[in-house]
């Protein structure tokens, strides 16, 4: 018994270390991917000088960020200002603990996995608010306030759509949800929920066209206007890691996780399927970002409260009724 508990701990610690390493490398890769995708969409090559295809460009950038001076504005709330970037980065790491990369590759297959991920992702609001408020900058404060309102508004449709999936499986355990999609992915059974999830997830991660908290042309850089060096880097890392997590969650909830389409696994390991789908979703999010203008703040709220929430509620209702009578 004691032995088993020990192995569980080891699994957890090793997993956490791997997750940390993976999160950082993944974020660097995603930054590169973003720049490459943006570049090619805009008919330019993107980074290409450092390393093959410019792959090492983001590493060089990260090194530069590490080497930069950490400036704390003299009028800032110093403690909060320092804590905020850490606060935003820690919760996103938790997400990796429960993500089902492959049948045997889950660091901790909790029976509350789905709940845990969304509970922790709410933390980022707190960090953004702390960062924006403590900077003592009007742009940052405006960005922080916008961010809080936005995240509160979009968490509801997000969770409602997840609820409809959970209803279908009767479990909050990721592995069981993925298992249930062995033959048909939930995106085909729940297309509305899937679409709303993707839209809300984009808003949740503050990505364009919902990037109003850091709306460059209005608020300069939003809540991280005053941050420099690696503190800014942490915000950046958190954004991209968050993007990975929401895409991974979407993959496991709607796109069949480690399964191939319609039960055809084609002898490809589950982790490859999982990663392929996740990165494809990330690509779509990037593609959207580089296509659309930004929505105005009140339109964004209207869209959430007047359209997304009613539709996702209706979707949940329909799901519940259908499940009841099947």
């Amino acid at each position: 018994m004691g032995n088993e508990v020990g192995s569980e701990w080891i699994r957890l610690i090793v997993g956490a270390v791997i997750a940390l390493a993976f999160a950082s490398l993944n974020a660097l890769f995603l930054v590169w991917l973003e720049r490459k995708v943006a570049g090619h969409i805009q008919l330019r090559p993107g980074p290409k000088e450092v390393g093959p295809f410019g792959l090492l460009q983001t590493i060089a950038d990260a090194l530069k960020l590490v080497g930069k001076e950490l400036i704390t504005p003299s009028a800032a709330d110093k403690k909060l200002f320092v804590i905020a970037p850490v606060l935003i980065f820690m919760p996103v790491l938790v997400g990796f603990l429960v993500l089902p990369f492959a049948p045997e590759l889950i660091i901790r297959d909790m029976n509350l996995g789905v709940l845990l991920i969304f509970a922790f992702s709410t933390f980022s609001v707190l960090a953004i608010l702390a960062g924006g408020w403590s900077s003592n900058n009007k742009y940052a404060l405006l960005g922080a306030i916008r961010s809080v309102a936005q995240n509160v508004a979009y968490e509801i449709p997000l969770l409602l759509t997840v609820m409809s999936v959970v209803l279908m499986v009767n479990s909050l355990r990721f592995s069981e949800i993925v298992q249930a999609q062995g033959h048909i992915w939930f995106i085909f059974l729940q297309p509305v929920a899937g679409l709303i999830y993707l839209i809300s997830a984009t808003a949740e991660t503050n990505r364009a066209p919902f990037d109003i908290p850091e709306a460059e042309s209005e608020l300069v850089a939003g809540f991280h206007t005053e941050y420099s060096g690696m503190r800014f880097g942490l915000f950046f890392l958190a954004e991209y890691t968050n993007m990975f997590i929401v895409s991974a969650v979407a993959t496991s909830l709607f796109f069949g996780g480690w399964h191939g389409p319609f039960g055809f696994d084609m002898k490809i390991p589950g982790i490859v399927w999982f990663m392929l789908k996740t990165y494809f979703l990330i690509f779509v999010i990037m593609w959207v970002r580089w296509t659309f203008p930004r929505i105005r703040f009140d339109q964004l709220m209207n869209f959430s409260w007047k359209f997304m929430i009613p539709v996702s509620l209706a979707n949940l209702l329909v799901t519940a009724v259908v499940l009841k009578f099947i």
């Binding site: 995708v37 570049g39 090619h40 969409i41 805009q42 008919l43 330019r44 090559p45 290409k48 593609w287 959207v288 580089w290 296509t291 659309f292 359209f307």
Partner: protein, 146 residues
């Protein structure tokens, strides 16, 4: 009903927009990677001014009349000449321009009575101080002599 129509039309317009960007995704890039590739200069390119070297004399024809100096809107041309013989023509001996202040209007080239000024085709002009922007046209003419 019109609300739903707007939602659907709006959604479709977003899809159309994404189609436009996706088509660009696999098109060749249009930018020129500067130090490796270079664009061809236009035939009318205006660099800083320099002397024309005439075949028949093997040198410039500047007579130091000072018209360019007077016509320059920014007063950046300094030209001096001497008379080689007592009653002969003046010949330009020193010609400096401060290129940092030049607005490349081309008035000096147009006003030159002997047509000895032209635009150079140089564009990679970097320096470490503002004095590097001062160009000695006489010295340039000497350097480019074959």
């Amino acid at each position: 009903m019109s609300y739903w129509k707007e939602v659907i039309n709006g959604g479709w317009s977003l899809v159309e927009g994404m189609r436009v960007t996706f088509r660009r995704l696999y098109r060749p890039v249009v930018t020129v990677q500067y130090p490796r590739q270079k664009v061809e200069l236009s035939p009318a390119y205006r660099g800083h001014i320099e002397f024309v070297k005439f075949k028949e004399t093997g040198t410039h024809k500047c007579v130091a009349c000072g018209q360019c100096q007077r016509m320059c809107p920014s007063n950046l041309i300094k030209v001096q000449g001497i008379k080689e013989r007592a009653k002969g023509r003046k010949v330009g001996t020193q010609y400096f321009i401060d290129f940092t202040r030049c607005s490349l209007c081309g008035l000096c080239v147009e006003v030159c009575p002997t047509k000895t000024l032209k635009f150079s085709r140089e564009y990679e002009l970097e320096g470490v101080s503002r004095w590097d922007g001062v160009i000695d046209l006489m010295a340039r003419l000497g350097e480019t002599r074959p």
